[in-house]
Amino acid sequence: MKVSYFPGCTLKTHAKDLDTYARKCAEILGITLEEIEEWQCCGGAFTTAKNESATKLSSVRALKAAKDKGQALVTVCSACHNVIKQTNYTMATDAEVRMKVNNYMAPEEPYAGETQVYHYLELIRDVVGFDKVREKVVNPLKGQKIGAYYGCLLLRPNSVMKMDDPENPQIIEDLIRALGATPVVYPYRNECCGGYTVIEDPEFAGRKSKIITESAKGHGVDRLVTACPLCKYNLVKNGSEVPVVYFTELMAEALGVKEMA
């Protein structure tokens, strides 16, 4: 199965592991990620204001490119996913934004939110299935206690993201289990790391991140996994005593493709 793929700015630079392992693992699971040509940065954050259309254009271009190929659109980065899914929802439900964006882009056929948007994790759960992942595991991560760090962007706003129960998510825990490891649930797994405020107020972001990593450590987590480069940066930069890796890296270890990278 082929899907359109939007890697995003950071996956081409600081988060190459997130990208490379996503592609390798997808191939093993029978999915080809076809990178969208000439994609543009999503902007990192969805602007909720109803009278903004310019900030939605890059996402709509990617969504439309996937629609033109008749493919679903897949993202791996939490932020890209949040922006693109919220933009798609807006294009489907907000007639004013839809009109402004289509007036500007002037496509042959107006775009109205038709593309199916998946986070890579959703693709694994809903299209591939965790049973298939389990079958493909060559190095089960036996005995490893892994904590999923969801943060905010994957889950919220739930009315749009609809990925999982936003207060008690299971999707990454289910993946961890399929890879042969033991998921550890700890209280701060769906709280914000401080995000972009690190630019202006690193101490603030530092306090937020510290609460999360200490919570994970206190619950006996060996390693944390995340889908977000900025979460990883904030957690690691603020002295996490628990190593933090991308969930795709964990998959690559279990599926036996890490050493080839």
Partner: protein, 130 residues
């Protein structure tokens, strides 16, 4: 409230899509806000201050740059008020004005370290500048 303020209030409400009058003042948004300690005005205060047209203190407050847009207040509000969207609308009412960008390109080089992901920079510009 004078006309100018009342127009601005209407604009903020319109662009946010929030109806502040749905709020029942339970305070759950502020209780769950990870930026609570950093804020002079908290999410529940944004809701009633916008409703009352008390915009100037909000627009002058550093609180508008502390919201993480983590949507915790949005998802946990029992009345579906969506306070984060109001905070964003107030911030946009400020930074859309000429010369009111809160972050400038020249602010970036001194703070960049080799690990800082692009994502942090683009997101901060989207939040803090027009």
């Amino acid at each position: 409230m004078d006309n100018k303020n009342s127009n601005l209030q209407a604009e903020i409400v319109r662009m946010s899509g929030v109806n502040p009058r749905k709020c029942m003042r339970c305070g759950k948004c502020s209780a769950t806000c990870p930026a609570y300690d950093e804020m002079e005005y908290h999410p529940h205060q944004f809701v009633y201050m916008v409703e009352n047209g008390e915009l100037e203190p909000l627009m002058k407050s550093k609180s508008i740059y502390k919201c993480l847009t983590c949507f915790a207040c949005v998802d946990r509000c029992p009345r579906g008020v969506e306070p984060a969207k109001l905070v964003e609308a107030v911030r946009l009412a400020v930074i859309r004005q000429q010369g009111k960008n809160h972050l400038k390109p020249e602010d970036i080089p001194p703070i960049v370290d080799e690990d800082l992901p692009q994502q942090a920079i683009v997101t901060a510009f989207r939040k803090y500048a027009k």
